[in-house]
Structures are given as structure tokens and as C-alpha cells.
């Protein structure tokens, strides 16, 4: 789950990481007041769950409260399109109005899980303020990595080493190390999958300030962070993906026209590949999960059917925990509920497959059965033609 910059900065402040003075505004009037409180000059930052806001025009320096109001009016209610969003972009429902910073140096700092190390790693770079993926691709030696043993935590020798790598002067090293330690506490105490500050700036008077803030929470740990779960902003998520998440269905909206209903993430990815190999494009990734009942299968199918791109539906169920007859009932229920007549290609295998096929056969649905993935691919082609 992603947080907004202003939410992440509130958490940063709780842990003692310096952030610029400022406040969040949901209306142009509030933005005007916020800028006035800062003395008129300010930076107005669109709050969206996407990086690349600067280049996309989502961050503007203003010289007066009137200009702040005007800028907020331009941002609010519009969609911001960045290189990390799709062509529709994401809606801007709030802006962060902050004081201008006196930037002497821009650093990059992040914490994430490294799978090879099987634990958290701290990444720092003197090349802050830039697209870090570009730095990683072109100048990987400019990014310093410090693996952290989870049992020990971040040790002082490690932060000293990183401060040295960043060529920090003694007066700057102390506050910078405090930021690194706070960041590690934030990462572990809140079960983050990513915390990133880009840039972490050094000001003219040697203060260290988090100019930006990115914080992603690990979904699987939200059960023990109910307070953080409340920070979710559904408006930033794809509507169908948000609906699926509410029902505990793993769903990703894609560009094509073949709606896919599958059980199991690996088989769902394989189904996308088979669909593509058949010369068609999947409309979605969907793993309905192992313990699904009839109602959950019906919800999953309803999500697929409510996607206007979909012109045929491919079902690939390997019955195990999820029995084929249960899946079939759920599919029929959803199609009949919505009065859908789209072609349906069904490949079922495993537990209660005979009963499952009988239920579909006896229904009014336009079903083509496939016994293998090869046959399913052929049927997708045919239904698309």
C-alpha cells in the first residue's frame, strides 16, 4: 500500500526526521492560506501515488498566496500523467504547500528488502534529486548499498561508512546519521516495503532535510498496523483493482480484450503468456485464490465483465482446494446476474471437473470447452475472429 508524500512526511516528523514547514490543502483557498502562513513564497506539490511529478508539471514554485491559489486550482480535480502512470494519469485531490528550501547538496537515501540478502538494505547516493533508476543503470558505482542484519539492526559503523561515502562534512554527518537511524526505525516498526527520500538535502546552514518522502507499506503486514491501513487513498488506485483488493482477489488491469479468470498466481501468469502466444491480448491478470467460494468466484467474474475492454472470457481453473463445480456455479451466477452474453472459453482440470462442466453445459452461457492450454489458445483465437 502506498502513502502520499504528506502522509509519509507526517510519519517522518514523528521519528524526528526534519521536513520542510508546510501543510496539505484540499481546496485552492486552503492553498492560499497555507502559502500566506509561509510568508507568500512556497512550493505547491500535487499529491499523487506516482513518481516523476516534477517532470510532469506537478510541482510548482509560487511567489504569492494568490499564485498558490491559482496553481492549486489548476492542479486540484485534474489527473496528473507521469512516466509512472498510464495515459489517464491519477487524480490530484490534494496539494502540499511547503516553504522553499535552500539547497546546497541533494542526496538519495532508501531502504528496501533485498531478496538475495534476504533482508533490508540501505541505499545511499550523492546523486540525489535525479531519477535513481537512471543512476543505477548508467552509474551503478554511485549507489552505495549497506545490507542490515535484522537481528543487529543498523550499526554505527555502517552509518559512519555511508557518511564517509557521501563525503559529508563533520557538521553534516551527525544530522545525516540521525536521519538514517530514524529511517531504519520507520522501516522496521511500520513494516515498510520501501522508504525513500529523494532528495535528502543539505541546506546552506548544514541542516539535513527530507525534501520528498516515499513510503510503501507491505500489504501482508497491515493486519498489525490498523492505523496505517486507514491512510489508504482508493482514488489513486485503478477502480477495478481497488474493488478486487477489497474482495481479496489478486487483480491487475491490463490493456487487452481477453478477460482471464484463473486460480493461482503462477498459473495466472502462464495464462497471460498463453493468451499472448495465441496472438490475443489479456485484459487482466486475475488470481481468484485457493479458498474461493461460489460468491467470491462470482465477484471475480463480475469485475472482469464490468471491464468495457473485455470481449471474451477465458477461464483456466486447476481444481484443488477450489473445486471446479464451485467455480462453475460462480461463473454462471455472475454471467446471469449481469445478463452477459460474451463468448466464454473454459479450461478446467482437477477436482470435480465433470460436475463443473455439466453445470456450465446446462446453463445458457456461450461456452467453448478446451481440455489443454493448446486448445484454449486456439479457442481464444477463434472467439476473437
Amino acid at each position: 500500500m502506498k502513502l502520499h508524500e504528506y502522509q509519509a512526511k507526517e510519519i517522518f516528523a514523528c521519528y524526528g526526521i526534519p521536513v520542510p514547514r508546510g501543510s496539505v490543502a484540499a481546496t485552492a483557498g486552503e492553498a492560499r492560506q497555507a502559502a500566506a502562513d509561509l510568508g507568500g513564497q512556497a512550493v505547491v506539490k500535487a499529491q499523487v501515488h506516482a513518481g516523476g511529478r516534477g517532470k510532469a508539471g506537478g510541482i510548482k514554485v509560487v511567489r504569492s498566496p494568490e499564485e498558490a491559489e491559482q496553481t492549486a486550482r489548476e492542479f486540484l480535480g485534474q489527473n496528473l500523467v507521469t512516466h509512472q502512470t498510464d495515459a489517464r494519469g491519477v487524480p490530484v485531490n490534494s496539494v502540499l504547500v511547503e516553504e522553499l528550501a535552500d539547497i546546497r547538496r541533494e542526496l538519495y537515501v532508501a531502504l528496501t528488502i533485498d531478496r538475495g540478502f534476504r533482508g533490508p538494505v540501505l541505499l545511499v547516493s550523492a546523486a540525489g534529486g535525479m531519477d535513481i533508476e537512471e543512476v543505477a543503470a548508467t552509474n551503478p558505482q554511485d549507489i552505495h548499498t549497506e545490507p542490515i542484519e535484522p537481528v543487529l539492526g543498523l550499526m554505527p559503523y555502517q552509518t559512519r561508512r555511508l557518511a564517509a561515502r557521501l563525503n559529508l562534512e563533520p557538521a553534516q554527518a551527525r544530522p545525516a546519521i540521525q536521519v538514517l537511524n530514524a529511517l531504519y526505525r520507520i522501516f522496521t516498526e511500520n513494516d515498510c516495503s520501501l522508504v525513500e527520500i529523494n532528495p535528502l538535502i543539505i541546506t546552506g546552514d548544514d541542516r539535513v532535510v527530507a525534501l520528498d518522502a516515499k513510503l510503501d507499506l507491505e500489504d501482508d503486514s497491515l493486519f498489525r498496523h490498523a492505523d496505517l491501513g486507514e491512510l489508504r487513498d482508493r482514488s489513486q488506485e485503478d477502480a477495478l483493482e481497488a474493488e478486487a483488493a477489497d474482495q481479496d482477489i489478486a487483480y491487475v488491469n491490463l490493456e487487452g480484450s481477453v478477460g482471464c479468470l484463473v486460480n493461482g498466481a503462477g498459473l495466472a501468469m502462464a495464462t497471460l503468456d498463453v493468451t499472448n502466444a495465441a496472438g490475443a491480448a489479456p485484459a487482466n491478470f486475475l488470481d481468484v485464490g485457493g479458498g474461493a467460494d461460489e460468491e467470491k468466484v462470482a465477484s471475480a467474474v463480475s469485475i472482469i465483465l464490468s471491464d468495457p475492454k473485455v470481449n471474451r472470457v477465458l477461464v483456466n481453473i486447476f481444481g484443488g482446494i477450489l473445486r471446479c463445480d464451485i467455480a462453475a456455479r460462480g461463473i454462471v451466477l455472475a454471467f446471469e446476474r449481469q445478463g452477459a452474453t460474451l463468448p466464454l472459453i473454459v479450461r478446467m482440470l482437477g477436482t470435480n471437473v465433470v460436475e463443473g462442466k455439466e453445470i456450465l453445459q446446462a446453463s445458457s452461457l456461450n461456452v467453448t470447452f478446451a481440455d489443454t492450454l493448446t486448445e484454449a489458445a486456439a479457442a481464444i483465437r477463434q472467439a476473437g475472429g
Partner: protein
């Protein structure tokens, strides 16, 4: 023979009185698995299915029944505790089926296990099966398997079943099948399983199913190149997944070029693995390679 499990495997099920635990303990027993004990704290003294004793702790269960494999079904908040308890009781092989275990908990658990003579499969995995020994430690449908000489390894559940079904359909049996799990931090890697298959005299061919995300497939490719003399057929799924989107498995997200399917397929090809072109061709590719071997 096969890997990890054999006729001497004595299974203990942690969470045996729960919905999932009881269902799969029963299915395992029906398949022929020697389930000797269950553990549910507070339910010690009960009998499961009128024959399997339930204990309050893993230590008690091991002392009374000499269980040597643990199968874990407890919910995510309690799964790290269950794994540590099994490791502490000296159970040498643990399979954790539980999906949704917090990653940072697993970071500590794998380090604890590193210092013990314990192998952990999972979490978020289907488990493992040895069809020849009629031993099933997991949630896979037993009846799709056929005893034989092909070793299967995958990150996934139902995709492993798909691979097995394609093999069995062509009369190609399996020495063992292992699903190592779809999470970013897991107990046993592809490399560990490849080495076990290489050392297993009853495995002739390895079917390897990887997916997008991380670099575990590249590490496996390096291992295949350097250490594995047996032929390997490889499928990598997720070639058409967009970057930055998590494909169900917490581990399946493209976060850099090496996490892409193309990079993994290239590494596998370079290692001399036989590339399975699409998920529909698993059985056919294995059959062709077995044919060449004579």
C-alpha cells in the same frame, strides 16, 4: 527414492484442527502419507480422525511420535512462531504453506534457521510430494502425480500442478515435485533443490518453472551451468507482465531489467537449459528431451 521425502517420513501437521489443516491432513492420509501427529496449542490430548494424536507443542509431538517432517497451516500472524517452534524442536524438514507471512518476520526466521540443521520449504508454497513413496506434504491434488524419474521444481502452486498434469498425461512420472513458494524471502531456493535433484540417483531430468521478479532464476542458471549434469527443461512465466505491477505472488514484480522474463530466459539458455516455449509445451518439451536421452 526422490528428494526430501521418503518411506521413512513421519509427518506432523501444525494447525491440524483448523479448516485448512484438517482438510489437507485428511487428503494426505488418503493419499498414503504417514501423518503421525498434529499440534494445536490448547487441543493436546484429542485424536484427529480417531487415529492421529494432537499435542500442545511440537516438542511433545516429536518426543512421543518421532515426527521428522512438519507441515504448517497456521494463519500468517502465528506462522513465524510455528516455524521457529518446529526448528527449535529439531524437526529437520518444515513446509510452511501459509500465504501472507510478513516479510520482515521471515528475514529474522531464515537467519534463525540458518544456524540449525533444518530445511524450510516456503512460506506461501504448495509443499512437496514424492509419488513413489506415496508421501504428500502439501496442498497439491495427489491423484495427478505418477511415480517416475522427472524432478519438478517451481515457485508456484497450480502452475506446478499444470506441469505435473502435462507430464502424467504423456506417461512421464515424477521422482518428486517441490513448490518453493512465491514470497520475496523463502527458506529454500531453486539452487538448493537443483543440487538435491542432481544428487538423487532416481531423477533423470529436471523440469524447472520460474517466473518474473528477483534474480533467483539467474542464480539457478549459474548453478545449472557449473554443477548440474542432468538435463533441465525450463519455463519462465510472466513474459507479458507489465513492470511495477505485482502479479499475485509478492515476489512476482518487475523492479529492474534482471527481473524480466527475457533476462531469465537468456540466462537459462546460456546455461544450456532446454527452453519450454510456452506454458502449453511443458510435457512435450520434457518428452522430446527424454527421447533424445534414449
Amino acid at each position: 527414492m526422490g528428494i526430501l521425502l521418503n518411506e521413512e517420513s513421519r509427518i506432523l501437521v501444525q494447525g491440524i484442527t483448523g479448516r485448512e489443516g484438517s482438510f489437507h491432513a485428511r487428503a494426505g492420509m488418503a493419499y498414503g502419507t504417514n501423518v503421525v501427529a498434529g499440534v494445536t496449542p490448547g487441543r493436546g490430548g484429542q485424536l484427529f480422525e480417531e487415529q492421529v494424536p494432537v499435542f500442545d507443542s511440537v516438542a511433545q509431538a516429536v518426543a512421543e511420535t518421532a515426527a521428522n517432517v512438519s507441515l504448517i497451516f497456521v494463519p500468517p500472524p502465528f506462522a513465524p512462531d510455528a516455524i521457529a517452534e518446529a526448528a527449535d524442536a529439531g524437526v529437520p524438514l518444515i513446509a510452511c504453506i501459509t500465504e501472507g507471512v510478513p516479510v520482515q518476520d521471515m528475514a529474522r526466521i531464515v537467519r534463525y534457521i540458518d544456524h540449525k540443521p533444518v530445511r524450510l520449504i516456503g512460506p506461501n508454497c504448495p509443499g512437496m510430494i514424492n509419488p513413489g513413496a506415496r508421501c504428500k506434504v502439501g496442498i497439491m491434488p495427489g491423484d495427478i502425480h505418477l511415480p517416475g524419474r522427472v524432478g519438478v521444481v517451481s515457485r508456484s502452486g497450480t502452475l506446478t500442478y499444470e506441469a505435473v498434469a502435462q507430464l502424467t498425461h504423456r506417461g512421464i512420472g515424477q521422482s518428486s515435485c517441490v513448490g518453493i513458494g512465491g514470497d520475496p524471502i523463502i527458506g529454500t531456493s531453486f539452487v538448493d533443490i537443483l543440487r538435491l535433484y542432481e544428487a538423487d540417483p532416481d531423477t533423470d531430468l529436471i523440469v524447472f518453472i520460474g517466473e518474473i521478479g528477483g534474480t533467483m532464476e539467474q542464480e539457478a542458471a549459474a548453478c545449472i551451468k557449473a554443477e548440474i549434469s542432468k538435463p533441465v527443461c525450463t519455463l519462465i512465466v510472466g513474459a507479458t507482465a507489465p513492470p511495477g505491477k505485482r502479479m499475485g505472488h509478492a515476489g512476482a514484480i518487475i523492479t529492474g531489467d534482471s527481473a524480466r522474463a527475457e533476462a531469465k530466459i537468456a540466462a537459462m539458455r546460456d546455461a544450456g537449459a532446454h527452453i519450454i516455449p510456452t506454458p502449453a509445451d511443458i510435457g512435450a518439451t520434457a518428452e522430446a528431451v527424454l527421447g533424445e536421452m534414449g
